[in-house]
Amino acid sequence: MAAEFQTPEFREYPAVPNALVKDATAHLSPFIAKPNHQEQLGFPGELVENWEEKAIEKMGDLLSKYRGLRVYLDSCVKCGSCTDKCHYYQGTSDPKNMPVARQDLLRSVYRRYFTFAGKYFPKLVGARDMNREVLDEWYSYFHQCSQCRRCSVFCPYGIDTAEISMAAREIMDSIGHGQKYCNEILGKVQTVGNNLGLPGPALSATLEEFAEEIQDDTGLPVQIPLDVKGAEVLLITPSADFFAEPHIDGLMGYAKVFHEAGVSWTLSSHAAEAANFSMFIGSYSNMKKVAERIRDAALELGVKRIIVGECGHAWRVAYSFWNTLTGVGAGADASDEYALKLQRQLDPSVPQPMHICEFTYDLIQKGKLRFDKSANDHRTVTFHDSCNVARASRMGDWAGGQFDIPRAVIKACCNNFVDMDPDSIKEKTYCCGGGGGLLTDDLMEIRVKGALPRMEALKEVVDDRGVNTLAAICAICKAQFAKVLPYYNFPMHMLVSTHQLVGESLIMTGSNQEKALQPKQQAEAEATAEE
């Protein structure tokens, strides 16, 4: 699709909120799901006849199932705190991209049908009937939200626009008006086992190639095993790690870490996907179905641990939801046979699931990994906190471990590390612009514009601190940055996977790299001794 839009200019004072430009991105909508995409997820193929009524019915159903939705729709006082916090608002100046205004697209309908004030005084409280205009507006603007939760950090009641956009998408799916990108991909993962639709034999061949590459490089018999029964660890990683750059380099990094740690591990062809786009469309039942493939694989292979590769929303689903959805975790009730079946199998002495960064960090803490940090000396690295890792999950056993652990891993293998503007990292991190089911070419304009705040913060450290490397821990962030960095005149190759930095500096026992270092280290040791 031809890009018929202007990349936003870097703002002189990004902290000053933009003046509003009404309907600036009203023309943006993703492709609508085809009937077969819809039906394979249990949704009607196309817009049902009495969809207005059905939409309200579904809203009522969700209100009775999700306390958060109910409380968030009632509690907003329109204080304005969130209005300048969304990256899509900052990149487009469209008022409907202000979090509260986005929520109001749905709240106005909620008020009309579910509140006294909206039923009897609709004008007074801005309540609206459900109609075609509203539906089109929902479809457009609820697909201009990446569910990054930045607004919820700043809301005095913690109102999370992500929950509201998930509900809106679930309602639209339920009346036959779903999004092609998410629903088509969910069909693939549910039938083939990964978002790509990559069948087992093709996956196996790809993994062998990567393993050979590592073997050529290190001189060690490093493997990337698939479907190995009785392995200790099942690695669940986004399928982008099998085909996209720089994701692949991250995968090779994990393989090196597992090999060096001497831990047996395996991927699964049945569950060769960490991503779970069901979260983006707010569908609990689909989210459970996709997560159950992982449960099934874990039971089938008899693994003791489940480790998750670099992916943002997938880590949210894994960390925050897997225990709920499928029992991957601990602490099930004694009567909860479903969860206990898996929990009895998993090793209770380590967190289940574990993030690959937690795994590597633990090995570093125990002194089990050695790095040649000079291998990364040509880099000055900054780190992009992924929204779902930063604001919807955790690593380690302390609040904020999700910020400390990836940074500690990077610093263990790089000498030069710089953080971006404090207002753009950690819990205040900006979305890459492509999360939440927006990583599709039909939404390129909003993706590029939404990346503006992140690109501005990056520009600052590139210009002032000499940063030339952007490390990410999310498959979507990586794919998005690979696409949008050039729009902002950054070189694409400045983007790396976090475990790429690990892999490129890890000194594996007996490797070519270790041998090459020995004379150098010997010389250094002799020099020290002479002094």
Binding site: R67, R70, V125, S152, P156, N323, T324, A339
Partner: protein, 242 residues
């Protein structure tokens, strides 16, 4: 007039309590099927209590976000709290020991009214002047501010300019609590003040004022961050386990 206002306050009180009980019960029984605290979040129940306390007492998240909204919002809410405490003197016997703090706090409440009204005016000015906030405002948002400013300023006028017979007001309200209707002074300002208060009580459970109970039920703020340690499952979701 006394009978009319007595009835008004009975009706307003019943609607306020019934409405709040209904909404709080609704929040209480609606499940939160997934763990969605905004992280970093406390990993213990005690930590959550502290987080909520900081949110409710200090408006922590708002402070992080926008210092002007925080300042005006905080002035209004703290002012309101102190003014409400001062109003206890109309409803309790201040000679009894447990209420002996009421006369002590009264002088503070007298001046807190300024914070209350100035805070409201600051918020209202932002609602009109800042284009983003103007955009998200409905007529009801302005009317709510008008109502609160009306209550605050009519009250201040009675405190500082046109005094009313507060002893008689106290007799009226103490009477209401014993279901005995005593004469209410008929100063227009007092009637306006009380009429607006009754209106506020009635619309409380029907409006955005539900943010007051709502904040305590917000899953992004009240959940413990321990999903790996404890399986969290709602009844409707458990049915999907097979």
């Amino acid at each position: 007039m006394s009978v009319l206002y007595a009835l008004l306050f009975y009706v307003a009180t019943v609607l306020l309590i019934a409405g709040l009980v209904y909404k709080i019960r609704q929040y209480w029984i609606t499940p939160a099927p997934l763990k969605i605290p905004t992280t970093p979040a406390p990993t213990t129940r005690g930590g959550v209590v502290l987080r909520m306390a900081r949110e409710v007492v200090l408006f922590e998240s708002l402070f992080k976000s926008n210092k002007w909204i925080w300042l005006f919002g905080y002035m209004f809410h703290v002012g309101l709290a102190l003014v409400l405490l001062r109003h206890f003197r109309y409803f309790v016997d201040t000679t009894s020991f447990i209420w002996s703090w009421v006369p002590l706090i009264s002088p503070i409440g007298k001046y807190a009214a300024f914070a209350l009204v100035i805070g409201l005016l600051g918020l209202w000015a932002r609602r009109i002047l800042v284009d983003r906030i103007r955009y998200i405002s409905s007529p009801s948002d302005h009317l709510m501010l008008a109502l609160l400013v009306g209550i605050g300023s009519s009250g201040m006028l009675m405190t500082y300019v046109v005094h009313t017979d507060i002893i008689a007001v106290k007799v009226f309200f103490m009477g209401l609590m014993r279901f005995s209707i005593q004469p209410l002074p008929t100063d227009p300002l007092l009637l306006l003040h009380l009429g607006l208060v009754a209106l506020l009580m009635i619309i409380f459970p029907l409006s955005k004022l539900l943010h007051a109970p709502g904040v305590f039920f917000s899953p992004s703020r009240n959940q413990v961050d321990n999903p790996r340690e404890k399986r969290h499952i709602a009844a409707w979701a458990a049915k999907l386990d097979k």
